[in-house]
């Protein structure tokens, strides 16, 4: 950046040739990723650390990013996962009583490349109209370099072909313990150890910390196991409930890792899913999924609860959705996205299987849908039935 604060020194290049100039920050080099936009006006740290953003370059549509810095408490996982960050204006200094450092320095440490001073609105309109595609941020390059970058982008693997879940999900069974004053820590789960409450198993496909926190908040004992665990690997923790987490990538890629999920459903243990977990439950039950043009990513996705006619503001982050027409008999659509009428939640008519496409755990976004976890806890405790 020059003395006037606006000299460009980096480019953002999209697979279809569209390129933007900007000012680079964060890591010196970035990865190729699928470019997506998120309309949240707060929560950049949660977004960057949400494992679901693995393999994606995130455009934040809000004008100013970095204003309140970063802090340990707002991490959605132990590290950043996004491949890059595109913003209109990056804060010069963080200002907030909880701030532990600047976004810029943190991204540098976390290895995430960023570009600022980009016309993010033009970029968002482009993505909206053309759909998501591969993109890369290149520092120290000019628009003249864009054709070379386009060539590289075209050679890179497609987002749907990569095994992101394999990269981000936990490798061993871990037990979560709440920390006084908020948050939680994890340790190796030990079989036979006394439960702190009703035990639930979280199938971790790249779970956000907030999901674990929401479960702990309701007094549940949480064991996290790899998402692709077999039923025996799940059952050994004697779960009273199973939760499928969110995660990155195309759900269709994971069809061969859903045996554990299918058996969980068959066992009659209440089985719930969030986001990718929602898509996987649908697929496990025979429905299909499809890719949305530009996905739903933001804090203001209105979801209608079919039974009550009530609308909740939900946080969403997904590029795939469940095909309503493909849903087998016995599955009922419980929630609909008011913006485009896509499936936002379903339940099994006769089994305790419930899933939502949105993020009831928020982080970032509104807490309006947190009743999802209350229901889950009640079902796990046998206080309610988990069907429709």
């Amino acid at each position: 950046m020059d003395e006037l604060g606006s000299e460009v020194d980096a480019i953002l290049v999209l697979e279809d040739g569209r390129a933007f100039e900007g000012v680079g920050f964060g890591a010196s080099k970035g990865e190729i990723g699928e470019i997506v936009f998120n309309t949240s006006m707060t929560g950049y740290q949660e977004i960057l650390t949400d494992p679901s953003y693995a393999g994606q370059v995130v455009v934040l549509t809000t004008a100013h990013v970095g204003n309140y810095g970063v802090n340990t408490r707002d991490m959605e996982s132990t590290r950043a996962h996004a491949s890059g960050l595109v913003v209109r204006s990056l804060a010069r200094r963080a200002s907030n009583w909880r701030s532990e450092g600047s976004l810029e320095e943190w991204m540098e440490r976390e290895g995430v490349v960023g570009i600022s001073e980009v016309d993010t609105r033009a970029l968002t309109r482009h993505i909206r109209d053309r759909g998501v595609m591969r993109a890369a941020i290149v520092r120290g390059a000019t628009l003249a370099d864009a054709p070379d970058v386009v060539a590289r982008l075209k050679e890179a693997p497609g987002y749907g072909d990569e095994d992101f879940v394999g990269r981000v999900s936990s490798k061993t069974a871990r037990r979560a313990r709440p920390v006084e004053g908020g948050g939680w820590t994890e340790e190796d789960a030990v079989q036979g150890e006394e439960s702190s409450g009703e035990r639930v198993v979280l199938l971790d496909f790249g779970s956000k910390a907030s999901i674990v926190e929401c479960l702990l908040d309701r007094g549940l004992d949480v064991v996290m196991v790899p998402g692709a665990s077999s039923w025996s690997e799940i059952e050994r923790w004697e779960p009273r409930g199973v939760m499928l987490s969110n995660g990155p990538g195309d759900p269709a890629q994971l069809d061969d890792r859903l045996d554990g999920v299918r058996e969980a459903i068959a066992s009659g243990v209440p089985t719930y899913g969030i986001c990718l977990g929602h898509q996987l439950l649908a697929r496990a039950l025979g429905a299909s999924t499809f890719k949305l043009v530009f996905g739903h990513r933001g804090p203001n996705q209105p979801v209608l609860e079919v039974a009550t006619g009530k609308v909740a503001m939900t946080s969403q982050n997904h590029g795939y959705a469940v095909e309503a027409a493909s849903m087998p008999e016995g599955l009922e659509v419980t929630h609909v996205n008011l913006n485009d009428d896509t499936v936002a939640g379903f339940a099994h008519a006769s089994r305790p299987v419930v899933a939502v496409q949105y993020h009831p755990e928020a982080g970032p976004g509104p807490n309006d849908a947190s009743v999802f976890f209350d229901d889950f806890a009640a079902v796990v405790r046998g206080e309610a039935r988990g069907d429709v």
Binding site: E3, L4, G5, S6, E7, V8, F20, E21, F37, T39, S40, M41, T42, G43, T61, T62, A63, H64, N67, Y68, R73, D74, R88, S89, A91, R92, R93, A94, S95, N96, W97, R98, V118, D119, R121, A122, L123, T124, R125, R128, G298, P299, N300, Q301, P302, L304, T308, G309, K310, V311, A312, M313, L338, N339, A362, G363, P364, P366, N367, D368
Partner: protein, 1076 residues
């Protein structure tokens, strides 16, 4: 949707006052339209004629009647609506609904309240109930309690400590609110606050000075769906009324966790208060050191902030609140902007909005410009930019306060050491004033650290660091000014991107604004236009709402093939230029659209109807500066631009626009010059054989003194090219002249100061006229009640005239028509005359829409602004069927409303400088009853029979007082006077109680007033000594809410009105009936 109700009454907010301005015209108009679209019959009550909502075509039945329980009750009896929607008319409507409930009217007539209930209003507005509710939700409020007496206040103070925040209950705009730092201030403020509160309650709060302040706008429907429309962050920390604070949206300095916690709290509050179908706003304060959050207050209705939030996001809060009130739910209502999505969502912004309040401290030289918890601003400007600095600087230029950049300029000595520099700025930065942010930048320029500035101002460091971005660019521009670097495309782009205006760039570089424009054209540094779409581009938007910015990206505005006309609005409200001009601009837009034109609006006032995105074909929310107007013109390629409707604001741009080759519709620039330039005007006067008071133009005080010698006193001194009589004064002596000349010259700038012989005791007349270049037709003639010398915007007036002889009216008509033809007026023209001894003097001609256009349009039923727009677009008056003056059989009286209750230091005497913020209208079959209603609407009601009336008049008025006093005596009032006046009245066989003047010692008249023993005050005065002596009497009248008159003419009219009301009752009738 509710099928069990058919008709709904909407209560307006009455006259524009500080704290309650045209945002309620915007909300009310939206609500009425929404309800009528749903098929309901809508009855409107509002005393303010300057509003769009009171236009006959907006509601089904429109009552321009006083907003008092008595009048509204009569209207309800007459109309028998099923329900009242009281949440659209500000605190006035809410309080009125509560009174109607309390007196049993609603129950008796079976009228339901929509969108709220008396219980909800009490839970939100009664400070004690609200506090209990907040505590029951596990949330905090600042330590506080309610005092009903001074004694109780002292006890509470022991818990809350100094500084102490004081707010009376049930007032709007924080009337009576203040901060006390010591026991003396505390005692004064408590007494004042108890007085202001209709329930004699004052809330005493723990000080949250320096805390961050936030505001959330919420909507909730009957299915308990809640959405947050907008979060607003105040740059000014706690301690400055939110209406006086610079605010931004979206919230900038909260993490998601903190924002969501606040959002959850807000939702819990709206549920607990029980608003089931409508909107509210909730204010929070956050301790920047710890994050501790407290709830400040809630407004259970549409508010000033909802207007701001609607404009900031594109989400029409009032319209949707009205739809919710009749039972629709958020998911049933379409989002107009996207066309696809629903109202059940929360807008997201990809830009920054900044609002800056507009103050008028220049009108009240006696007051300090300190900002406190009592609102003092008279208007606001909003701007949209892609970044904070861009939106802030655009908002600053939108204020039309003469500011082109963030600086005051007074700097510490160059070699002062650091501590001295901090000390130099300390007072300016610790005391909140309208200039504090400007001084902050000066301090930054002087090298004061951001940490130190933060410590002094409590501005969040994020804002300060963003502002710091301006400094290197300023230095580069200054360097270009010194020839040390070039003003190249790179520097220009950097400056424009941060928000610098061409004028400031020009000032720093030492070139003209046109040079900067040329340089930008040469280097390709042009603005692009971006859309406001509620959704940060997630969906394709269909509504045409745009702002300019500088990006290396795309321009979203498309030049249309349709015939396009651009209308310039009036900018922020201020005394002298307010809602009246918005009224005109809106009518122009609607009329032109009706005629098939594409009407494009440029304006920057978020409170207005004109900045509602569906009033015009395309809205540019932009400052009304040459630079931004030209940018829109270049984008739109219009057939022409209309300047006549925005008051003085667009006229100031006229010359520059003409010079730039822009086609201005209507009267041409020559007409403006010929009326403003005294020499040219004299030529017209001579040519048309008119008479004007002897006058001269001067540039220096010496010249002025020579003129005074020649003409003699009294004289009227006024600057040229101003609106609202800024800097205008009547002088009675050479000392007066010397005292006021400097200010007039300063206001005038390079233009001369005008000095007229002042026509004492003349009657002033205002005439509005419409012309098409061939024909001219009188729109209406208004006779002022107060004698010449009171600004026409402050004087009460009546149409048709009630005292002027027909011969005089004939002369006035002839002269007006002749002027319109001589000036080739196309559109509107306003002329002011003075009449003395049957002689007609011409005072002033304005070739544009005047402040009285809405009043005259309502009085006559002829929509002058709409007609003028069509004339400007090429139609003839003949084609429009406008061939003769309409003279109604009923009388319409306009009365002005003043902000004196907000400025305790200010005297209430009227003069040639306009001080009123708003107006009311009384319509009736006789002048007296119309005048009476106007007085009641202006909160100057007649005293109860038998009341004691204090009279004290200047010598010139003594003889005229006698018949007035006699009449008052006859209709049963008791007269009270000090010795001089008493002697005179007794000499005329009138019984008078004698009372001491203040200087005669206690018990004196002030004691009687304070004790509530005086029901009406008639006090006229001249000469600085006696003005000073009687000032305390007038102030006491204001503070205690006692009706008063400061001119004998007004007292005389009021007396006649009261007498008339003893024999006949005022009519209650919809204006549609008057005009049918």
């Amino acid at each position: 949707m509710r099928k069990d109700i058919n008709s709904i009454c909407i209560l307006g907010s009455g006259p524009i006052v500080i704290g309650q301005a045209c945002e309620f015209d915007y909300s009310g108009t939206q609500a009425i339209r929404a309800l009528r679209e749903l098929g309901y019959r809508v009855i409107l009550v509002n005393s303010n004629p300057a509003t769009i909502m009171t236009d006959p075509e907006i509601a089904d039945a429109t009552y321009i009647e006083p907003l008092t329980p008595e009048f509204v009750e009569r209207i309800l009896e007459r109309e028998r609506p099923d329900a009242i929607l009281p949440t659209m008319g500000g605190q006035t409507a809410l309080n009125l609904a509560m009174e109607l409930h309390a007196r049993g009217t609603l129950d008796r007539l079976g009228v339901e309240l929509l969108g709220t209930t008396p219980e909800i209003i009490a839970r939100a507005e009664d400070r004690l109930i609200f506090r209990e509710l907040i505590e029951s939700l596990g949330m905090e409020q600042a330590e506080s309690d309610v005092a009903h007496s001074l004694e109780e206040a002292w006890t509470i103070l022991e818990r809350t400590g100094f500084p102490s925040i004081l707010r009376p209950s049930f007032t709007m705009g924080g009337t009576g609110g203040s901060i006390a730092y010591n026991r003396k201030e505390f005692e004064e403020s408590i007494k004042w606050g108890l007085q202001q509160s209709p329930t004699s309650e004052v809330l005493i709060d723990e000080s949250l000075l320096g805390w961050k302040e936030y505001e959330l706008e919420l909507m909730r429907d009957r299915l308990d769906n809640v959405v947050i429309i907008c979060g607003i962050e105040n740059i000014d920390p706690m301690g400055v009324h939110t209406g006086d604070s610079i605010t931004v949206a979206p919230i900038q300095t909260l993490t998601d966790r903190e924002y969501q916690d606040m959002r959850d709290a807000a939702i819990a509050i709206i549920r607990a208060v029980g608003i089931e179908s409508g909107g509210c706003n909730i204010q929070f304060a956050v301790d920047p050191r710890t994050g501790r959050r407290v709830v400040i207050e809630m407004n259970p209705r549409v508010s000033r902030s909802s207007a701001l939030a609607s404009k900031a996001t594109g989400y029409p809060i009032a319209k949707i609140a009205a739809q919710l009130a009749v039972g629709l739910t958020l998911d049933q209502i379409a989002n107009d902007i996207t066309g696809e999505t629903k109202a059940a969502f929360e807008p997201v912004l990809d830009y920054v909005v900044t609002k800056i309040p507009r103050f008028n401290f220049d009108k009240f030289p006696q007051t300090q410009n300190s900002l406190t918890t009592q609102m003092k601003s008279v208007g606001e400007a909003m701007a949209i930019g892609r970044t904070f600095t861009e939106s802030l600087l655009k908002a600053l230029r939108s204020l039309e306060d003469g500011l082109i950049g963030l600086d005051v300029g007074e700097m510490p000595p160059e070699h002062a050491d650091y501590d001295d520099r901090v000390e130099f700025f300390r007072a300016d930065l610790t005391r909140p004033t309208p200039l504090r942010l400007l001084r902050t930048m000066d301090a930054m320029r002087a090298g004061v650290s951001i940490d130190d500035i933060h410590a002094l101002t409590a501005y969040d460091p994020w804002f300060l660091h963003e502002l710091e971005r301006l400094l290197p660019v300023e230095r580069a521009l200054d360097a270009a000014g010194r020839g040390e670097r070039e003003l190249d495309g790179r520097l220009l782009f950097a400056a424009k991107r941060l928000g610098f205006g061409d004028q400031e760039i020009a000032r720093r570089v030492g070139v003209t604004e046109l040079d900067v424009r040329a340089k930008r054209a040469e280097t390709g540094v042009k603005p692009v236009f971006k859309q406001v779409d509620t959704c940060a581009a997630e969906f394709d938007a269909v509504t045409s709402y745009f702002y300019s910015t500088y990006e290396r990206g795309e321009n979203e505005a498309v030049t249309s093939e349709e015939r396009t006309i651009i209308i310039l609005g009036g900018g922020p409200n201020r005394i002298g230029q307010g809602i009246e001009f918005d009224y005109c601009a809106v009518h122009a837009a609607l009329a032109l659209r009706d005629q098939g034109f594409r009407a494009v609006m440029i304006n920057c006032n978020p409170e207005t109807v004109s900045t509602d995105y569906d009033v015009s074909s395309q809205l540019y929310f932009e400052p009304l500066t040459f630079e931004t107007v030209m940018a829109v013109i270049e984008q739109e390629q219009p057939e022409g631009v209309i300047l006549q409707f925005g008051g003085q604001t667009p006229l100031r741009l006229a010359k520059a626009l003409y010079d730039a080759g822009v086609r201005v519709l209507g009267s041409d620039a020559e007409a403006i010059d010929r009326t403003e330039d005294r020499e040219l005007f004299n030529e017209i006067v001579t040519k048309l054989d008119l008479t004007q008071p002897e006058a001269a133009t001067v540039l220096t005080l010496a010249e002025a003194e020579a003129v005074a010698d020649d003409l003699g006193f009294p004289l009227l001194v006024r600057p040229s090219y101003v609106l609202g009589g800024l800097g205008m004064q009547i002088v009675h002596s050479i000392d007066d002249l010397r005292a006021c000349f400097g200010r007039a010259a300063a206001v005038s700038g390079d233009n001369p100061v005008l000095i007229d012989r002042f026509l004492a005791d003349a009657v002033e007349v205002d005439v509005d006229c419409i012309a098409d270049g061939t024909d001219a037709v009188i729109g209406g003639i208004m006779e002022h009640i107060e004698e010449a010398g009171v600004h026409s915007g402050d004087s009460a007036c009546v149409t048709p005239p009630y005292m002027l002889p027909e011969s005089v009216l004939r002369t006035i008509r002839e002269q007006t028509i002749a002027l319109a033809k001589e000036l080739d007026i196309v559109g509107l023209m306003n002329v002011q005359y003075a009449v003395r001894d049957h002689e007609v003097y011409i005072l002033e001609v304005n070739p544009r829409a005047s402040r009285t256009i809405p009043f005259i349009s309502k009085a006559t039923g002829r929509p002058l602004a709409a007609l003028a727009a069509r004339v400007m677009a090429g139609e003839s008056l003949k084609d429009l069927g406008v061939t003769h003056e309409l003279i109604p059989r009923h009388f319409s009286v306009k009365e002005s409303v003043f902000p004196f209750d907000k400025f305790p230091e200010v005297d209430t005497l009227l003069g040639p400088q306009m001080l009123s913020t708003g107006e009311v209208m009384g319509i009736d079959t006789s002048f007296e009853l119309a005048f009476l209603k106007a007085q009641i609407a202006a909160k100057n009601p007649p005293p109860a029979p038998g009341g004691r009336i204090f009279v004290s008049v200047r010598d010139e008025d003594k003889w005229s007082l006698v018949p007035v006093a006699k009449k008052l005596h006859e209709i049963g009032y008791k007269l009270v006077a000090t010795s001089g006046t008493a002697k005179l009245l007794r000499a005329h066989n009138l019984p008078v109680e004698l009372v001491n003047k203040v200087k005669d010692g206690q018990p004196h008249i002030l004691d009687e007033i304070i004790n509530g023993d005086i029901a009406l005050i008639i006090n006229t005065t001249t000469g600085s000594m006696s003005v000073k002596d009687s000032r305390s009497i007038r102030r006491a009248a204001i503070n205690l809410g006692i009706p008063y008159f400061t001119t004998l003419a007004a007292a005389k009219a009021a007396t006649a009105a009261i007498a008339k009301s003893r024999t006949s009752e005022p009519t209650v009738r919809a204006i549609q009936e008057y005009h049918s």
